[in-house]
């Protein structure tokens, strides 16, 4: 057993943390959320060129630095601490994950572009009717010569406004919600018949409704196998969920530390409010939740290569735990800040908002509890 980071991993973390401290302060972020673009392509280029983090989780054969899930975890935790908007999760973890596992020439080429910072991805999986069920798909892909035609409506596709490529799940067979018949496609966002409606989300990021109308893609667009893509989807979503847990850990750490700082300096009744025992205990609870969120993130990340059932239980346990922590720590942070916590002016509220959305991304607490139940109690029944 070893919970230490390698020297390379520590350097990765430090370099990224330093960059974000210098260049990604809260005020800059706030300004960016109000621009038309809503993100900073220059920061993305710096991620690729100055810091090289976009290649950290790819193999050397792909032109990366030879890392994997642990590198994603390190990066995501730092991005969480700085409330970074840019689509690392969508591009490197989700996009990169599908491309790595599916393989093939087209995939390899796109990985090169991701590492170079010239391609960005978004994951168009959820549909208006489907809640968190990854198999609940009405979007269809039908054969058209050697290629495919895709039609359907994808809901709240985060980071899609900035993406050059979409990963789209669709039915090539089977009925809605059946495990069989799910396939995964790589679609260029500029493809004819693909339209989006873009909008901001409450955490200061952007998302789109994606409408596919007979969108033609070639044979090489199919990632993985036709009709049994669901295990691949589940694997990548588990990897993304673990990465999201890492981002949440960063957020929770900031919520906890920010609250501690505030409570130490805010005085009422002639004394710092940190001296009130009821607030002390609440801050201790926040601290414990933030610490255990890190533990659960490690646990999930280190199980990503386990067999599917074990991996799923590990990831869902972590997400259920961390989803609850996002709610309780976020709410405590606002409460202890009093009126100041309610303002758009302070960073603390923005961490709370991001933590709140993380709660529901890739499955709510209820969803992950149920998944754990189904998988881990199946034998007991």
């Amino acid at each position: 057993m070893d919970f230490n980071f390698t020297e390379e991993q520590s350097m990765l973390r430090d370099a990224l943390a330093r960059y974000l401290a210098d260049r990604y302060d809260f005020e800059t972020r706030r300004g960016i959320t109000r621009t038309d673009a809503g993100w900073q392509p220059a920061v993305w280029r710096a991620f690729a060129e100055e810091l090289g983090i976009l290649g950290a989780a790819f193999s050397e054969a792909h032109g990366g630095l030879g890392g994997g899930a642990v590198e994603n975890m390190i990066v995501m935790e730092e991005l969480g601490k700085a409330l970074v908007i840019e689509p690392y999760l969508e591009t490197v973890v989700v996009g990169g994950g599908f491309l790595k596992h599916a393989g093939g020439a087209a995939a390899d080429a796109l990985i090169g572009q991701i590492i170079a910072g010239t391609a960005t991805c978004a994951f168009a999986h959820a549909e208006p009717q489907g809640r968190y069920n990854l198999a609940d798909l009405k979007t269809t892909a039908t054969r058209d010569g050697a290629g495919w035609r895709l039609s359907g409506h994808k809901a709240v596709v985060t980071a899609a406004p900035w993406a050059s490529h979409l990963i789209v799940t669709a039915r090539t067979g089977g009925g809605q919600r059946e495990r069989d018949g799910v396939s995964v496609f790589l679609v260029e966002k500029g493809a004819a018949g693909l339209t989006t409606r873009d909008y901001p989300t409450v955490d200061g990021r952007r998302a789109s409704e994606v409408y596919l109308e007979n969108v033609a893609v070639g044979a090489e667009a199919l990632l993985g196998n036709e009709g049994n893509g669901l295990p691949l989807v589940e694997r990548v979503v588990d990897e993304a969920t673990a990465a999201l847990c890492a981002e949440a850990s960063g957020c929770l750490k900031k919520l906890h530390e920010g609250t501690l700082d505030y409570a130490r300096q805010r005085k009422q009744f002639g004394t710092p409010i940190a001296s009130f025992q009821v607030l002390q205990h609440r801050m201790v609870d926040m601290f414990m939740a933030a610490e255990q969120a890190v533990s659960m993130t490690y646990m999930a990340t280190l199980n990503l290569d386990a067999e599917a059932r074990e991996r799923a239980i590990a990831v869902s346990s972590a997400k259920a735990f961390i989803g609850k922590a996002c709610q309780s720590v976020g709410q405590s942070a606002i409460q202890i800040h009093g009126g100041m916590g309610m303002t758009d002016e302070l960073a603390i509220g923005h961490y709370f908002k991001r933590a709140t959305l993380i709660e529901g991304l890739y499955g709510s607490v209820a969803y992950h509890l149920r998944r754990c139940e189904a998988l881990s109690l199946a034998d007991a029944a």
Partner: protein, 398 residues
């Protein structure tokens, strides 16, 4: 002991229900449903209709314009308002400063301020909190110095709700800096148009402009606008706090909120494609909330009963505030959960006509901003920590 309403009460209920159905302006219907931000005109439209009917201030004595209802009738009234999902009556004039004026004011002050407060011609705001004086309100530092027939007021207030619309404010100011904190405070009514007053917006988490900073720089306030004695403003403030807390439990509104969650859960599909309301986890959360609301409702009814038996609202009302706001907050948590993916989009300023090409179901539109916004309820009106301190001290004697 019994739970039945009397025949008179039932007749009263039918009367007010029919009135609301008929008189509530059509253009305001649905605004509460969607959690939309309300304009000054929205608030005033409904306020004026009720004022004309003589029902805008159910708690006021008849001689000042109240309808003379019993506690049970007042309870029925608030139930019916919530049932119809009407715009709330702003508390600042009706529940806060009005009772202070008719209890502590001079005949001239009553004649001057009560009628326009009832009619809606004066919109009041509450100038209590300061950057340095929140929970510890008595440490407030805004200074009022006597200069002949005037006070010259300097200082800063904050969190002033809807102060951007206010005609007048009621302010706590320090008139004797040498006295003990509670003893050097006076209660002033200030015309918000007086030179030297600057109101600046504070934007809150959901993007709302609901609260403000109010800066006062050499603001001249006639001494005749002071309520009660100089340096005895704390008496008014304490009296007002008790009034502020009546109705804070928000039982009827929360019932409405739970109905809304149920409607969402019937419309939304769970992960298995069945209506969310059939999901045992979600259904249990709704039921737990209903049970807790029941406990609150019956506690409030018991409080009401003892009030109508002549006991004023005591420190027990802190219980109503704590439990009421916790329930209000949980309702917003459940709404966010029920909305699923469509809780995320942020619509402020986008698509305000509301019909062009909507994203997601209408009921999801403001669930996240409302969840963020309702965190305020455990902070304001005496935070829930402060309320627990009050119960510990005043009720339990600890």
């Amino acid at each position: 002991m019994n739970l039945e309403f009397s025949a008179d009460d039932i007749a009263f209920r039918d009367e007010v229900r029919a009135f609301i159905a008929e008189a509530y302006p059509a253009h305001l219907r649905g605004k509460m449903e969607e959690g939309e931000e309300l304009s000054k005109e929205d608030y005033l439209a409904w306020h004026r209709i009720l004022a004309a009917k003589g029902w805008v201030a159910p708690g006021w004595p008849v001689e000042y314009g109240g309808p003379g209802w019993t506690a049970t009738q007042r309870y029925i009234w608030s139930e019916e308002l919530a049932r119809a999902d009407t715009i709330p009556i702003l508390p600042f004039g009706i529940n806060m400063v009005g009772p202070v004026i008719y209890t502590f004011g001079t005949p001239e002050q009553k004649a001057r301020f009560l009628p326009p407060s009832l009619s809606g011609d004066i919109w009041w705001c509450q100038g209590y909190s300061e950057p340095g004086a929140g929970s510890d309100l008595a440490s407030l530092r805004t200074r009022a110095e006597r200069d002949g027939d005037f006070y010259i007021v300097n200082g800063q207030k904050t969190w002033t709700t809807l102060g951007q619309h206010a005609d007048w404010g009621f302010f706590l100011v320090r008139t004797d800096p040498a006295a003990k904190p509670q003893e050097g405070i006076s209660f002033l009514l200030i015309d918000m148009k007086t030179p030297g007053i600057t109101v600046r917006p504070i934007i809150t988490l959901g993007g709302e402009h609901e609260v403000n900073e109010v800066w006062l720089e050499n603001v001249k306030v006639p001494v005749e606008n002071r309520i009660f004695h100089e340096n005895k403003g704390w008496t008014c403030a304490k009296f007002l706090l008790a009034h502020e807390r009546t109705g804070i439990a928000g039982v009827a509104r929360s019932k409405r909120g739970i109905e809304r969650i149920k409607a969402m859960a019937r419309a939304e599909a769970g992960d298995d494609g069945q209506p969310l309301i059939r999901d045992p986890d979600f259904a249990r959360k709704i039921v737990e909330l209903e049970i807790d609301l029941k406990a609150l409702e019956f506690t409030e009814l018991r409080t009401l009963a003892s009030e109508s038996a002549g006991k004023g609202p005591g420190p027990e009302s802190s219980l109503l505030k704590i439990k009421g706001t916790e329930i209000q907050q949980r309702i917003t948590e459940l709404a966010l959960e029920a909305a699923g993916h469509y809780g995320a989009p942020y619509f402020r300023g986008i698509n305000q006509d509301g019909n062009a090409f909507p994203i997601g179901p209408d009921y999801s539109r403001r669930v996240a901003p409302t969840y963020f916004n309702m965190r305020k309820t455990s902070i304001y009106g005496g935070s829930n920590e402060i309320q627990r301190n009050i119960i510990a001290k005043m009720v339990l004697g600890l």
